[in-house]
Amino acid sequence: MKTFWLLVRAGFRRHSTYRLALLAGMTTNSVFGFIRASILLAALASAGTAIGGYDAPTTIAFVWWGQALLGTVNLWGFAEVKDRVRTGDIAVDFLRPVDPQIAYLAGDLGRAGINLIGRGVPALLLGALLFDMAWPPSAVSWVAGAVSILLAVVVAFSGNFVINLLAFWLVEIRGITLLWMITGGLLCGLYLPVPWFPDWLRTIANWSPFPSMLQNPIDILAGRVVGDDIASAVGVQVFWAVALLALGQVVLRAGRRRLEVQGG
């Protein structure tokens, strides 16, 4: 546990050394937040009523929590593990008396932490300053929201970790990563809230792990999901976190048996 915590801190510190990147990320998130908020407000105005349970303040909350969590949750994936498999540096990870998946998860939680503080919260506050935004309706929503964010980070990490591990079998996984990004970006509810989707697409989304990476925490924090529904939203996330972590373990084991470290 202490090891895990130290690895979290190391991830936090690693990513906090790149302050300019954080600032740039924050600026981009804010600009896009402004644009998205304006577009969605216009859509709401033309509908003249709430859409899929979203009125104007919850829509604003949807947009800005989304922008805030964009850097926190690793939606677009990472390439570190894939690169280490390709170069053979993954060997070093196997020389340590820790499980590589757990070690990388710890590092990613640290990365998420600094991104939430350094990039997410400022963007969120800016959004709240410029627009009329709905806040979590109760203490329960705040706490459940925080747990839900943590789970979203874990789900996104675990999914990406599995994708990265495919490098054990495939020389180049760029195509798969791209597919993951496009599908995930749409289905997680980043562009539009999942409840706004047509029925067939919403069904697909709800059977996928992607809403657990963004839509669920946003729904709780924007106050669209309250009461008993919070438990089921978090429950679905727990299911995906456990399922994807377990899948990662299976794939990691298979990959290790297959490993052919090149050269050196």
Partner: protein, 310 residues
């Protein structure tokens, strides 16, 4: 109990057999040089010893454990440095890497700090502790890698090309440290290298591997004797000189520029540099001299030739 034990160890890659029925064992406290040409199977063996690669067949035990099935336990008892790969955290200060590794090895903070301080002092890395690893020079980084591998006081230290790319002074310091560390801790050492100096100064036993097979197992002197590897004395003379055929214990290899530069090979057991030099300089004016050590490629090539596989 042997600290390393392999029996009929085999690893095949797609079309090639990288390690071919390798059988050897290393006892606690030994210092073993593991040498061979590129692609001879050295790194593959090491990766099977440490549980990174799964053997195709055969038996392997490290510290009495099955590395593939007991990887974590092996990792606790073995320290490894791959010269071409880093185990440090690239964008953090060096000090943080030691702290994290200490935690990974379940050492308490006081123990981690004490061990770090000791290694840092011996390796003279104090000034670099606050530097991000990515900003270290190659020599500094390699010392840091070795400190990182030794942090948890492993029984077995495996170094894969630890001096590759280092300048003479850095190599020297690293070797001195390793000698002292082994004297104090009794750490078993398995070392692969292309540098004969590493072997001479650090190892009492040499394994030569050729195309995945063990071609020689014995002492360094035995190795030199087996292949007749000799040191070469290169003498620059003040004037063109007839070929030096009459030096006791030495043989003329080559004469250049009308005898201005002559290369003599000599057997380190039969004579000394000083004796050869004294003999030559009593007859001719010597301007300069250098000594060429038998290089590992040469020794290996001769071994390969001797086993009829070159």
């Amino acid at each position: 109990m042997s600290i390393i034990e392999t029996r009929d160890l085999v690893r095949d890659f797609k079309k090639t057999r990288a390690v071919d029925r390798m059988t050897f064992s290393v006892e606690p406290g030994e210092a073993v040089g593991y040498i061979g040409a590129n692609g001879a199977g050295k790194s593959t063996t090491i990766k099977m010893l440490t549980g990174i690669l799964k053997p195709t067949s055969g038996h392997v035990r490290t510290c009495g454990l099955d590395p593939m099935r007991q990887r974590v336990e092996v990792a606790r008892r073995v320290g490894v440095v791959f010269g071409q790969r880093s185990q440090l955290w690239w964008d953090l200060p060096l000090r943080d890497s030691f702290a994290i590794l200490g935690a990974i090895h379940r050492m308490d903070e006081a123990a981690t700090r004490a061990r770090t301080d000791l290694l840092v002092e011996q390796l003279e890395m104090g000034p670099q502790l606050g530097t991000a690893v990515r900003s270290l020079s190659l020599g500094q980084r390699m010392r840091a890698e070795i400190a990182a591998a030794l942090l948890h006081s492993p029984e077995l230290l495996i170094l894969d090309e630890p001096t590759i790319g280092l300048d003479v002074l850095s190599k020297q310091r690293l070797r001195e440290f390793l000698v002292a560390e082994r004297r104090e801790q009794g750490t078993t050492l398995l070392l692969t290298t292309h540098d004969m100096g590493d072997i001479e100064r650090l190892c009492d036993r040499v394994l030569v591997v050729d195309r995945g097979r063990l071609a020689f197992d014995g002492t360094l002197t035995g190795l030199a004797g087996t292949v007749g590897a000799q040191r070469i004395l290169v003498i620059d003379l003040a004037q063109p000189t007839p070929d030096l055929h009459d030096v006791p214990g030495a043989t003329l290899v080559e004469s250049e520029s009308d005898g201005l530069r002559q290369r003599l090979s000599f057997d380190a057991e039969a004579t000394t540099v000083a004796a050869v030099l004294a003999h030559v300089s009593s007859r001719h004016e010597v301007r300069d001299l250098t000594i060429e050590e038998p290089d590992i490629e040469d020794v290996v090539r001769r071994i390969y030739a001797a086993s009829g596989r070159a």
